[in-house]
């Protein structure tokens, strides 16, 4: 007897009964737990590993944005940020103008790097940005951005290549040769500039090739704006090329604080359209979760089996006429007209012999004679029907079969009469 069997309530009455009688088939929760222990341990292990992986990855909090100081990927700028940090520069990432402004304590000792590839910032924000620090580095400004940063410059398209130091800017001088990819800028003639600036401005285009500069420095009343077209010199994968690192470190390490400002969504003061999450009410996600739970509950409700299935061995049962049907299909597929007609004729001849009182062993000719005499019909005609004629096509076969039946009926009627 199984250990799980409960004590018998009426052992006397059913003494001779099966020992397994009354055994509970459904596993108790505790037994189920014991039986599935391996599975449970495995599931727990998987969950723990998953959590550990998330934690390990989470500590890296890697961003995939280009030129992000936390992005260790090829397009990130973590390398230059870390080196700057080691050199005593306080690198402060900012993702919006207000965050950047909050970090500025002493504008005179602050370098501001701004990178806005998606064009989130408005003109006012760009103008306000210029007041944050005395040293502003604008990385790859777009055409419209130049209106505020450097109206004297025009965008001259993408460029890449290796450029020797060709201007008095200290950082460029120290770098020697610079190679990179990015945008190029052209200094517009003074007349063409819409807002002609006072002559105090000194524009220094650097890293030339055919009149297009990869870096332009504009000094104005003790404030320096550097337009860095070759953004790739800051990237992790290319910073070690030529004098890129020197250029980047000298350009950005001039002050104790460096505000590393990447413009993001947060700069959109009035977004063009509210996002889906803002449009939907707060209860929508919990409600959908609830409905999912209701669905699962309904599945359990309808799907839970009322005890195990009772199995039963059913006997094999074949239809007896199956062989006959199979043979008919074979005849039909092979167009075995003669063979089929022969079978029909033999059947008819046997029945006719019985009707006319001939013995079972009677020859076909005797049957034909007997039938011809009985019906008073031509012997040749009956012989051709019962023996000689070959069916040329299926309709002839059907016709013969009908004639055989008619003949049988005629003989039966003649005998009855």
């Amino acid at each position: 007897m199984s250990l799980d069997a409960p004590p018998r309530a009426h052992s006397g009455a059913t003494a001779g009964a099966d020992a397994s009688d009354g055994r509970v088939l459904t596993a108790s929760p505790r037994r189920m737990l014991r039986r599935r222990r391996g599975l449970l341990v495995l599931a727990t292990a998987v969950v723990l590993v998953a959590i550990a992986l998330v934690i390990i990855h989470g500590s890296a909090t890697a961003s995939a944005d280009p030129l992000d100081v936390t992005n260790p990927g090829p397009s990130g700028a973590r390398a230059v940020a870390q080196v700057l940090g080691q050199q005593g520069v306080d690198v402060i990432p900012a993702d919006s103008l207000s965050a950047a402004r909050a970090q500025v304590t002493a504008p005179s000792d602050t370098t501001v790097l701004v990178y806005d590839p998606k064009g989130y910032m408005t003109g006012e924000q760009r103008r306000a940005l210029l007041g944050l620090g005395t040293d502003v580095v604008v990385v790859e400004p777009q055409l419209l951005d130049l209106d505020q940063y450097a109206p004297q410059l025009g965008l001259a398209g993408a460029r890449s290549g290796s450029y020797p130091a060709d201007c008095p800017v200290t950082a460029v001088q120290k770098a020697g040769t610079v190679s990179g990819t990015g945008l190029g800028y052209r200094v517009l003639p003074d007349a063409a500039a819409p807002s002609a600036s006072p002559s105090a401005e000194i524009i220094t285009p650097c890293l030339h090739s055919s009149g297009v500069a990869g870096l332009v420095q504009i000094a104005d009343h003790g404030r320096t704006i550097t337009i860095l077209g070759l953004g790739s010199i800051l990237q992790n994968d290319t910073i070690a090329q030529d004098g890129d690192a020197a250029l980047a470190l000298n350009l950005l390490g001039g002050h104790h604080r460096l505000i590393w400002y990447l413009s993001t969504f947060a700069d959109l003061q009035q977004g063009p359209a509210p996002s889906l999450a803002e449009l939907t009410p707060a209860w929508l996600t919990p409600l959908l979760t609830l409905f999912a739970l209701v669905g699962v509950a309904a599945m359990v409700w309808r799907g839970r089996r009322f005890g195990p299935i009772v199995v039963e061995n059913l006997p094999v049962v074949v239809r007896s006429s199956e062989t006959m049907e199979g043979r008919a299909r074979l005849y039909s597929r092979a167009n075995a007209r003669l063979r089929a007609l022969d079978a029909l004729r033999i059947g008819t001849i046997i029945r006719l012999a019985r009707l006319t009182g001939l013995p079972r062993t009677a020859a076909v000719d005797e049957v034909i004679d007997a039938v011809a005499t009985l019906l008073g019909r031509d012997r040749g005609e009956i012989a051709s029907l019962l023996l000689d004629t070959l069916p040329s096509n299926d309709s002839a076969l059907v016709q013969f079969s009908d004639q055989l039946l008619t003949l049988e009926a005629d003989v039966a009627a003649a005998i009855a009469a």
Partner: protein, 437 residues
């Protein structure tokens, strides 16, 4: 454990607090409420494991009849059990109702009735009892299946019984009760009695007449002898349970028709005072009834037949003569219930037959397929003509086998399923009348 429709509805009602409390708070609150309610409900529900079962079922029933089985359920647990019970019988036991409501207070006992209308003969078993015990809120239930075995043996229906009275009447005509005057093979001397007008003069026993001559000198009293058919013959019925017996003819497997026929024959033969033995055989003996007589015979026969199903193996005919010799060493009527369809399939039977016919009177009974017979007359279109041709060929094959069996010295009886039992009974009566048993 399982949940009810109420639980699902209750969970769905959580939409109200979710919208009302605007979000996650409502959801968590509602889930907590539902969880508490379900836990309480489950805690109060009585355990199905505290139930004790006692099953009473009749040992036997005939196919086509309905029997009642009872399940005594006593609650030895600490809480009352209310819910639903399923008494799980095999599908072909035709158990109903399949679900029954259950309400048993602590320490009490209830009797549940399950009616069985089996759809198939054989041993029909009950496997287990499943109880789903709901709490007072009917939100969730505890469920357990408990092994409570039981079985009902479903016997062959023996619908051919209806042919028995007419055949018994014919038997009585043969039997001593209407004595025959003719002496012949297979008759035995019954009695001497006075001649009455109409008696055959050839049956006058002159020697007895001389002895009975009246001493008083009155008129001569003629004495005639009467005869009656022999009794205490042996009938051995061999049912083929091999491959061919699985075929279904007119919605009845061949083996079932064979059983019906052998039951009618056994009933008739035991009334006629003959000994009947039954063998069900394919490659091994699947059922055997020997030495039973009177009312015991039919009871033992149906009991032996009930669990036998056709096997998908070729019958070993060579073993049959040996088996018959084991049953009786004297002359007997051997009835083989099998199929005689095609010369190829019947080769084993045909090679074995001479051994049997040398010692015994043999009857081979086979079910004829009415579908095949009907197919020969349907010749409407091309397909039907080919079908008719195939049917004619099948009949011809059957006729050839039957002729070969007759040549071996055995009798052949073929008939559609419903008519085979009376046809076989008639063949038996004819043999008995001819004194060939």
């Amino acid at each position: 454990m399982t949940v009810s429709g109420r639980f699902v509805t209750l969970l769905a009602l959580g939409a109200i607090p979710v919208v009302w409390l605007d979000g996650l708070t409502g959801l968590l609150l509602w889930l907590a409420v539902v969880a508490v309610l379900v836990t309480v409900d489950l805690a109060i529900a009585g355990s199905p494991r505290g139930l004790r079962f006692d099953r009473t079922a009749p040992a036997r029933t005939r196919l086509g009849e309905t029997v009642e089985t009872f399940l005594l359920v006593s609650n030895t647990g600490r809480r009352r059990v209310r819910g639903v019970l399923r008494d799980a019988w095999q599908p072909s036991a035709g158990a109903g109702p399949s679900r029954q409501p259950l309400l048993i207070p602590v320490g009490e006992r209830r009797r549940l009735r399950t009616a069985l209308t089996p759809t198939r003969r054989g041993e029909r078993r009950a496997a287990h009892v499943t109880v789903r015990s709901y709490g007072p809120l009917r939100l969730a239930a505890r469920q357990a299946s408990i092994l409570v075995p039981g079985a009902v043996r479903v016997l062959p229906p023996f619908t051919a019984r209806k042919h028995l009275p007419s055949r018994l009447a014919r038997l009585r005509e043969l039997d001593g009760r209407t004595s025959v005057m003719m002496r012949g093979q297979g008759t035995e001397f019954d009695s001497l009695r006075e001649y009455v007008r109409g008696d055959d003069v050839r049956s006058i026993d002159w020697r007895a007449t001389a002895r009975r001559r009246d001493p008083g000198g009155g008129g001569a009293t003629l004495v005639v002898r009467t005869w009656r058919p022999e009794r205490d013959r042996r009938v051995v019925i061999v049912v083929d349970s091999g491959r061919t017996s699985a075929a279904r003819i007119a919605d009845e497997p061949r083996i079932d028709t064979s059983f019906e026929s052998s039951l009618l024959l056994a009933a008739l033969a035991s009334h006629a005072g003959d000994h009947v033995d039954l063998l069900v055989f394919d490659r091994a003996v699947r059922g055997r009834v020997q030495g039973a007589s009177g009312p015991q015979l039919l009871a033992r026969m149906v009991d032996a037949m009930a669990p036998i199903e056709p096997r998908l193996i070729e019958t070993d005919w060579d073993a049959i003569p040996g088996l018959v010799r084991q049953v009786t060493s004297h002359h007997a009527l051997v009835v083989l219930l099998t199929s005689i369809d095609a010369p190829g399939a019947s080769r084993g039977l045909l090679t074995m037959l001479p051994q049997l016919t040398a010692r015994h009177t043999v009857v081979v009974a086979s079910v004829a397929d009415p579908d095949v017979l009907a197919a020969t007359r349907e010749r409407g279109d091309r397909e039907q003509v080919y079908r008719a041709a195939a049917a004619e060929r099948a009949l011809l094959d059957g006729a050839r086998v039957a002729a070969a069996i007759r040549q071996s010295g055995a009798e052949v009886v073929t008939a559609p399923p419903a008519e085979l039992p009376p046809a076989l009974a008639d063949a038996y009566l004819a043999l008995k009348a001819a004194g060939r048993l």
